[in-house]
């Protein structure tokens, strides 16, 4: 019996902990899913996008008779202007359509409206757009160098934000260290590449004057707030619906200027209007991520214990700042979470965001942590080598072991299993046997390597954590309404907005245990501002912890009410009532009453419970937790083909702890998907610009997410350390896959190539880069 099964047994819960099938899947796998692009519309939009990375718009001329809007038509519409009250943050405005000037290739300059997508594209093709010459800045270092062209007047030196922290006593400890180890880590730019690119459909209702915006988004309520703000309209005149959403990964949690245009057009035309982004637009003009360099140094004592860490983080944030997080999200998260799962007291960090003439950077699953984990885990491996230790031994010496723990950056870690997951991974990877096999293979000219990555994953954080970030918009809490209707059916209306995470299933499992019913009898309703309570949507590995917590609170209130009703109807003491199999039972007797009957009474016989309970069977729960840390150890075993430079992943193994697991199958799926994206980061995916800011990776032939053939079998092992910071005892796990995988894979590549004495500290570690490094070292 696995550790997990034992735990679930001990929990006394019937549904939580079981790998039941996802309730959302029957519709999706039988083609009954409903996506934004399925909606018919009277008008279709094609955005005319800038072919230049920088320059003044000299003229835009539409062919005769065409309907086209530009910034001139949008006078009175406010710019997108996200704000952060932290460090030196400079708010930079983004006009809804480029006004006077363009700042990246792909920026929307005009919107063409026609009766079909084809026609709109034909017209857009015929628009004459003249943009003056200007010198773009593409590279982050070049952008912050003195004398670089200024991209926004509001941000001198092209720095959107510069943060610094340094612990007291840092210099003394640094000076007294035995060994300093350095790594210059770099992650190239990625695009989250959701299967469904962006899409929006806005329809005007003449009867009410309202607009319904159906769009592919992770946060419908915030879209409503943001769009209403920008357009200066009451929120009550706008309904936002997120129907089935084909992946988001953070790319769909930022406000898109395009969606604002659609709502504006629907009101203007008093009609319906739609836009479906194509893949090229998505690759060049949605949001990018990850483009970051970290110069990291670690000071160690003579026993290889880490004493102090010094980091210089430079993020290329692109041309604008994204709403609501701002594009400070990457450098600031790097600063806060750089110390990772290691126990040391001294920390110094400078983190900057550089504005460049490239597509705007926004959150992508893992936000910064894939890169900081990469830097830190490379540092640990390099230190291990410098001390002549196995990489796992240096981690054994330095991982956090006592809880609660406050990191050198001031983050409070709740109880977790950093050391235990490492040991579990070492055991399952059969490290000594691998070392033998590795030595044998080398004799035959084959290069195998093993790489470890241990990390913490901050999840389920509420408004306290966002308050510390200084965001003008401070998300965090969630509200859930659980109700039993008069026929006894149960529904939960939630403010989270799942789009693949399986929340309809997992929240139903939580309710099922509280109310003694089967999960498939419970409907979870989300993604519609008219029917779901205000909430922050789904991002940052938050929904199961926060929405799950709110669900539990609401379900417990409903449970209390049901028990009261049952005790009246069954004439028994409340303490003797148990809820199971859709009924209330008096323990030790055969007296029962069904939930359906109780529900009917709760609505239609309220006089029976006068003074005891409020009429109806609907309760609300709100939850706003401080946050809880999941942890894992990822292990990659790779073979590097030194002739071609290609890396093949032979095995990928994870030992993971995300607290109580509500549904193991869904949890595993989250880890698998994250690892696939991590493989992309480590080996394949790279958005490339030329020196003039032209994107060279504008199709999926050049931008290469892994296919099923590049993702190996993944072996997962779990430990369940129940969270003390989450009332369901669950921790989040949505991002860990892509946080740990890149570091483990690149560490494995470095291990494989250790006989050549070369270092790969850049991702993706493409065959070209690996060969170039081998050649430089004069090896092969």
């Amino acid at each position: 019996m696995s550790a997990r099964e034992q735990h679930t047994k001990g929990s006394g819960l019937k549904w939580v902990g079981r790998a039941i099938r996802r309730l959302e899947d029957p519709a999706l796998v039988t083609g009954q899913g409903r996506f934004t692009a399925d909606l018919p519309a009277a008008h279709w939009v094609r955005f005319l996008r800038s072919p230049s990375a920088a320059g003044k718009i000299e003229s835009v001329k539409a062919p005769q008779g065409a309907t086209m809007i530009t910034a001139t038509d949008l006078k009175g519409v406010k710019p997108i202007l996200p704000m952060l009250h932290k460090f030196s943050y400079r708010p930079v405005p983004q006009q809804i359509l480029a006004d006077g000037e363009v700042r990246f290739v792909g920026e929307a300059v005009a919107a063409v409206v026609a009766a079909s997508e084809e026609e709109a594209e034909d017209i857009a093709d015929a628009v004459e757009l003249v943009i003056g010459d200007a010198t773009p800045v593409v590279d982050a270092r070049a952008a912050v160098a003195s004398g670089a062209p200024q991209i926004h007047a509001e941000a001198p030196g092209n720095v959107i934000l510069e943060g610094r922290i340094k612990t007291d006593g840092f210099d003394g400890v640094w000076a007294g260290a035995h060994k300093i180890v350095k790594v210059d880590a770099r992650s190239r730019r990625q695009n989250a590449t959701p299967m469904e690119a962006r899409a929006a459909h806005a329809a005007y209702d003449a009867a009410t004057g309202r607009v319904t915006l159906t769009c592919t988004t992770q946060m419908p309520h915030l879209m409503r707030t943001a769009i209403a703000d920008v357009l200066g309209m009451p929120e009550s005149d706008l309904r936002v619906i997120a129907p089935d959403v084909g992946g988001g990964f953070g790319q769909k949690m930022s406000l898109c200027a395009e969606y604002v245009v659609l709502v504006w057009l629907a009101r203007k035309l008093k009609s319906s209007v739609a836009w479906t982004e194509d893949r090229r637009e998505n690759l060049i003009a949605s949001f990018h991520s990850r483009d970051q360099t970290i110069a990291l140094e670690g000071a160690f004592d003579k026993d290889a214990r880490l004493l102090a860490l010094k980091a210089d983080v430079l993020s290329n944030i692109g041309a604008y700042s994204c709403f609501p997080t701002t594009s400070g999200v990457e450098p600031l998260m790097a600063m806060a979470e750089m110390p990772g799962p290691y126990d040391f007291r001294q920390y110094e960090c400078r983190a900057r965001g550089a504005i460049t003439n490239t597509c705007t950077m926004a959150a992508y699953r893992g936000v910064s942590r894939p890169v900081i984990t990469f830097a830190l885990e490379r540092l640990m491996d390099k230190a291990a080598r410098a001390f002549g230790l196995e990489p796992v031994d240096i981690r054994r010496k330095n991982l956090i072991g006592t809880f609660p723990y406050v990191s050198a950056a001031g983050l409070k870690f709740d109880e977790a299993s950093y050391k235990q997951t490492l040991e579990m991974a070492v055991e399952h990877a059969a490290l000594p046997a691998f070392r033998k096999r590795q030595a044998e293979a080398r004799k035959q000219g084959r290069y195998l390597g093993i790489g470890f990555a241990t990390f913490s994953e901050r999840t389920g954080y509420g408004s306290p954590a966002f308050t510390a970030r200084g965001m003008a918009i401070t998300p965090g809490w969630e509200t859930v309404h659980v109700s039993v209707d008069p026929s006894g059916f149960i529904e939960a209306r939630i403010g989270s907005s799942p789009h693949g995470q399986g929340l309809r299933t997992t929240l139903a499992q939580i309710i099922a245990d509280e109310l003694g019913v089967e999960p498939h009898k419970i409907k979870v309703i989300h993604g519609d501002t008219d029917t779901a309570p205000y909430g922050w949507g789904t991002f940052a590995s938050r929904s199961l912890v926060i929405s799950g917590g709110a669900t539990l609170i609401a379900a417990r209130k409903v449970r209390a009410k049901l028990i009261k009703i049952a005790s009246t109807m069954l004439e028994a003491a409340a303490d003797d009532i148990v809820l199971e199999d859709g009924q209330a039972k008096v323990a030790g007797t055969d007296r029962t009453v069904s939930i359906a009957k109780m529900a009917r009474e709760a609505y239609t016989q309220t006089h029976r419970f006068k003074g005891e309970i409020e009429p109806g069977l609907s309760e609300s729960g709100t939850y706003d937790p401080p946050g809880t840390f999941s942890n894992a150890c990822h292990v990659a075993i790779v073979e590097v083909d030194v002739e071609t430079g290609r890396t093949r992943i032979e095995k990928f193994l994870v030992a993971e702890d995300a607290g109580r697991i509500i549904n193991p199958m869904i949890a595993d799926g989250q880890v698998h998907g994250g690892i696939a994206q991590g493989i992309g980061n480590a080996l394949l995916e790279e958005i490339v610009y030329d020196d003039s800011g032209n994107p060279l990776t504008a199709t999926l032939a050049e931008y290469m997410p892994p296919t099923a053939r590049e993702v190996p079998e993944i072996e997962l092992h779990h430990i369940e350390t129940p969270s003390t910071e989450s009332i369901t005892k669950a921790k989040g796990l949505g991002e860990g896959g892509c946080i740990g995988a890149p570091a483990a894979i690149v560490n494995a590549i470095n291990d494989a190539l250790s006989p050549f004495d070369i270092v790969i500290d850049e991702m993706p570690a493409t065959p070209q880069r690996v060969r170039a490094a081998l050649r430089k070292a004069g090896a092969a």
């Binding site: 090229r280 002739e643 071609t644 430079g645 290609r646 490339v688 290469m704 296919t707 493409t766 060969r771």
Partner: protein, 285 residues
């Protein structure tokens, strides 16, 4: 990503097709076969043909026939037709092995052998096959039939000797002598991607020595071709690591490797060396 407007013509016979092609070719008319290259290019509006001559409904163009010396492959024969051997000759096994490396299954069920040749992507496995085996490419127009040797067919990146009014009606591959050995290897970043380098080799053994060696390299230069220096390094040698490495080195030195933003000429030559040697190792199974 919607194509510009075009008119689609659907001829029922080859004669009708070439007649229409002759009319529309001057107005940027093009043949539509499997559409697996043309349609994406049109979706990106990199091509905006005003007319398409769709050859998919012409009877008999999906014919594969052998007359004992050559294998004829009609213009609508899909890549997927070669998933199983089409002829009891080493050529059948060769085509089956090579076909598996082309794109992904759904694309192989639509894309055509002849369309690949007409499209002339430098990385195309079928172009490499045609060049290595010295295929004959049969062009048809209202002016008649014109056989073109593979050596004269490829002219540059996506450029061929076909005139704009000519339809590639079929390709003829010579059957191989029954004792022919073949080997194939390609390198791409992901499974199913266009090869960054590919090699196809064939030879016979005479008294334990390599004879009639053919070494074709694709993906490295604007179009695939046989590499005489590599063939010379093999002929007369016993098959084995020494000869294979010599041939691989000769091929790497002989190619004028293409460069792009991620791939240096030097790296491309590394790949040529690797794929030639591996194709030769594959042949020696």
């Amino acid at each position: 990503m919607k194509p510009a407007p075009f008119i689609r013509h659907v001829p029922k016979t080859l004669d009708e097709a070439v007649k229409i092609l002759a009319q529309v070719a001057p107005q940027d008319g093009r043949v539509l076969a499997g559409g697996q290259s043309l349609v994406p290019i049109m979706a990106f509006r990199l091509a905006k043909p005003a007319h398409l001559v769709d050859i998919n409904e012409i009877d008999g163009l999906d014919r594969i026939a052998s007359d004992g010396t050559t294998l004829s492959i009609g213009a609508c024969v899909r890549h997927g037709a070669f998933h199983k051997s089409v002829v009891g000759n080493p050529l059948g096994a060769l085509l089956t092995f090579v076909a598996r490396h082309i794109a992904h299954y759904p694309i192989r069920m639509r894309g055509t052998f002849c369309g690949s040749l007409a499209h002339a992507d430098p990385s195309s496995e079928w172009c490499l096959t045609a060049a290595t085996l010295d295929a004959t490419i049969v062009a048809r127009s209202t002016r008649g039939e014109r056989p073109i040797p593979a050596r004269e067919f490829f002219a540059g990146i996506m450029s061929t000797a076909l005139a704009e009014d000519e339809l590639l009606a079929e390709v003829r591959l010579p059957l191989l002598s029954p004792d022919t050995k073949f080997g194939f290897n390609e390198f791409s970043r992901r499974a199913g991607d266009f090869a960054m380098s590919a090699a196809l080799v064939t030879y016979r053994l005479q008294g334990g020595k390599i004879a009639e060696a053919r070494v074709g390299v694709g993906g490295a230069e604007p179009f695939p071709r046989r590499i005489a220096q590599a063939e010379a390094a093999l002929n007369g040698q016993p098959p084995g690591d020494k000869a294979f490495r010599a041939a691989a080195e000769a091929a790497a030195n002989a190619v004028e490797a293409m460069e792009d933003h991620q791939t240096s000429a030097e790296y491309r030559r590394d790949l040529v060396r690797a794929v030639v040697r591996r194709a030769l190792e594959h042949s020696n199974r």
